[in-house]
């Protein structure tokens, strides 16, 4: 569509975005997976989000027109821009950027004006994902979040700062750092630094907030960076904690979770007594909560793009009803909070020259994005950079779900490159793999995504590949999903016994060597000048 900036924004006002009839006696504010995005960004939602087993065709595994139809969203509307991928770059011209924690602050303040003791709960993946976050070891995010005054948070990527740094920050946090599933790995006892839950008195209601950190931290991320801790789903302990808080008089039980959406759904069916799950990790944004039994599950997106408000009526220890709104943070419509804007600018000030340096730009028909089960264009560009700068046959790039988008004809700054690559283990390695091992790798990652039992899923996306084509049948068991692996540069089938030069990054193995991925990508973009990518049709998906 063709959307004039003014026409689009006329329909939108801050008042309208924040419109909410205060309900019941308790308000929860949920934000999650900010990935250190302090400033407004563009963020394209996925076009491919495949559900398997019992979750096939169920939210959040619905995208695009199907998603709009399900929720009654008009094409070209603000919700269509915020929640679906079609016409992304055209709608972005009209509606502008999203997120920015100074805008988030305005939304939080407005909710607190209605309900002063609303609980602000941060689902984690907060202290990771940008140039300034990397260079300050998360301090920029800690300072800005402290200004928002959360009541509790839980964790995932935070631990990739290393356990010493995590301990240093957590010991100074002015709010609760929760995780019922964070245990000390030596004696298998609850880690003292992370209480399982905290009680709050709000609206005359005794609310217990239980934390659930990402269960698969030492698998999806380098366990050697935090060897003191063990995680896991720990259903039974979760049930024990729910029982414990109920026995101690909790009238409302809220789970602040970094499980990922399908895991939360399964947990809601197994653990009884949870009223609300505030779900994080899989970066899904849903305009309505999903109900499992008597539990409501709220998904609030990522990268600072959304805030969820959940008002609840709690009477005599029972949740009698709720009202919910997923508030998209339209950056041009919501007035930044001046105090928080100042804190943000102070964090960025020492690095402004580095951040703003323009490295290249996108061609007039080239969007860069990542979200989706398979390669996005940002991933294609990163894989191209790895193949060309590291002289490899094949590139592997992690299927992470963070990283903002770049519009056509937009400058690519150093900050933009760091927003999609920044991490504490970003070495771009180069190694040899046999065709057989490469197959094992793809099968292994595919099973972490497409295993029909959510408890075997890790919530990332398929490893991104460059220089390699394959066919995947998502319905098959591990070992049988990936076929027809092809080396694109020759068109030959991958030979199991032959050795290939592989370049990749974000290895979870200790001692991985190579230049930082952001330098590799920057060098490649600088050489290209204007980024224009060939369409990528190298992965054929079957059974979705």
């Amino acid at each position: 569509g063709n959307w004039g900036r003014l026409a689009a924004q006329q329909a939108l006002t801050q008042d309208k975005l924040l419109e909410f009839d205060t309900f019941g006696n308790v308000s929860l504010i949920h934000i999650t997976d900010i990935h250190a995005q302090l400033k407004p960004i563009y963020f394209r939602e996925p076009s491919v989000n495949i559900g398997v087993g019992g979750n096939k065709g169920a939210v959040p595994h619905i995208t695009g027109a199907d998603f709009r139809k399900l929720y009654g969203i008009n094409d070209g509307s603000p919700s269509a821009y915020a929640l679906t991928h079609d016409d992304f770059s055209a709608l972005a011209q009209g509606y502008g950027r999203v997120g920015g924690l100074d805008r988030v602050a305005t939304v939080i303040n407005s909710i607190r004006a209605d309900r002063p003791d609303a609980l602000l709960l941060d689902g984690g993946d907060t202290w990771h994902g940008s140039y300034t976050c990397h260079h300050t070891q998360g301090q920029d995010m800690v300072n800005v979040m402290n200004a928002l005054k959360p009541d509790a948070m839980t964790f995932h990527w935070e631990f990739t700062l290393g356990s010493e740094r995590v301990q240093e920050i957590v010991e100074g946090l002015p709010f609760a750092a929760l995780g019922q599933n964070i245990f000390d790995s030596e004696w298998d006892e609850p880690a003292e630094l992370f209480p399982p839950y905290k009680f709050y008195e709000t609206g005359g209601v005794k609310v217990a907030v239980i934390g659930q950190a990402f269960p698969y931290m030492p698998i999806a991320n380098p366990g050697w960076m935090f060897p003191e801790y063990s995680f896991g789903i720990r259903d039974e302990n979760m049930q024990a904690m729910v029982n414990e808080v109920r026995a101690a008089g909790a009238e409302l039980v809220v789970l602040l979770s970094h499980n990922g959406f399908d895991v939360d759904k399964q947990m809601a069916g197994k653990v009884t007594g949870i009223d609300v799950i505030l779900s994080g990790h899989t970066h899904d944004a849903l305009p309505e909560p999903v109900l499992v039994g008597e539990t409501i599950i709220v998904a609030s997106g990522s990268n600072g793009k959304f805030v969820s408000r959940v008002d609840l009526d709690v009477q005599n220890g029972r949740m009698m009803g709720f009202r919910h709104k997923l508030i998209p943070i339209f950056s041009d419509v919501i007035t930044p909070d001046a105090d928080v804007a100042k804190v943000i600018d102070a964090q960025r000030a020492p690095y402004v020259d580095q951040l703003s340096e323009v490295i290249g730009r996108t061609a007039d028909d080239q969007t860069l994005y990542r979200r989706g089960n398979f390669n996005g264009t940002w991933d294609d560009l990163i894989c191209d950079a790895l193949i060309s700068e590291r002289e490899a046959d094949i590139a592997l790039s992690p299927g992470v779900r963070w990283g903002p988008s770049i519009l056509p004809g937009q400058d690519i700054t150093r900050e933009d490159i760091w927003n999609v690559t920044s991490m504490s283990y970003g070495e771009a390695y180069r190694t040899e793999m046999t065709g057989e091992f490469l197959h094992v790798v793809l099968e292994d990652v595919a099973d972490n995504l497409f295993n029909p039992d959510p408890y075997y899923q890790q919530g990332g996306d398929m490893v991104r590949v460059g220089g390699l084509g394959y066919r995947i049948d998502v319905t098959k068991p591990q070992g049988d999903r990936i076929t027809e692996m092809t080396l694109l540069k020759t068109g030959e089938k991958i030979d199991p016994s032959k050795t290939y030069q592989i370049a990749g990054w974000a290895s979870v193995n200790e001692g991985t060597e190579g230049p930082p991925i952001w330098d590799v990508v920057e060098a490649h973009i600088a050489k290209q000048g204007v980024i224009s990518l060939d369409p990528n049709n190298s992965v054929e998906v079957v059974g979705a």
Partner: protein, 128 residues
């Protein structure tokens, strides 16, 4: 996904004949049913070299644990003495790849029951 991930086989491993021999040696060839035995293990191992497992039973006198996909499937045998307050124990085990872990309990009447749990050992990497 990484360079040094070669040590771990990513594909499910099959139970070996050795597993059946070990079970036969423990049971004397008696039939193994289902019943008073629980095996608790993680769905996905955080580290294949140290996988926490727990066996428990109301009445077992002895519990054999086998990792059916390991090159040598024997793991441990727990014998409960008169001062055991429960027929339960936890330990940490090595798994060479994704496989079924099996616990077989000998009950006081001389019968045998078993429980199994699939533990996935993954190369890891990536995330949301």
């Amino acid at each position: 996904v990484g360079a040094a991930a070669f040590l771990i086989a990513g594909l499910p491993m099959r139970a070996s004949a050795a597993t059946e021999d070990l079970i036969a040696a423990f049971t004397g060839g008696a039939e193994v049913g289902a019943g008073d035995i629980t095996l608790t293990a993680p769905e996905i191992a955080e580290n294949g070299n140290t996988v926490p497992i727990e066996v428990s039973s109301e009445t077992a006198v002895e519990i054999l644990v086998l990792a059916t996909g390991n090159p040598a499937p024997s793991v441990a045998t727990f014998k409960f003495g008169p001062l055991a307050a429960s027929r339960a124990a936890s330990t940490r085990i090595r798994l060479a790849g994704t496989q079924d872990v099996v616990a077989i309990a000998k009950l006081p009447d001389g019968s045998f029951v078993q429980a199994a749990s699939t533990v996935k050992v993954t190369i890891g990497g990536c995330g949301g």
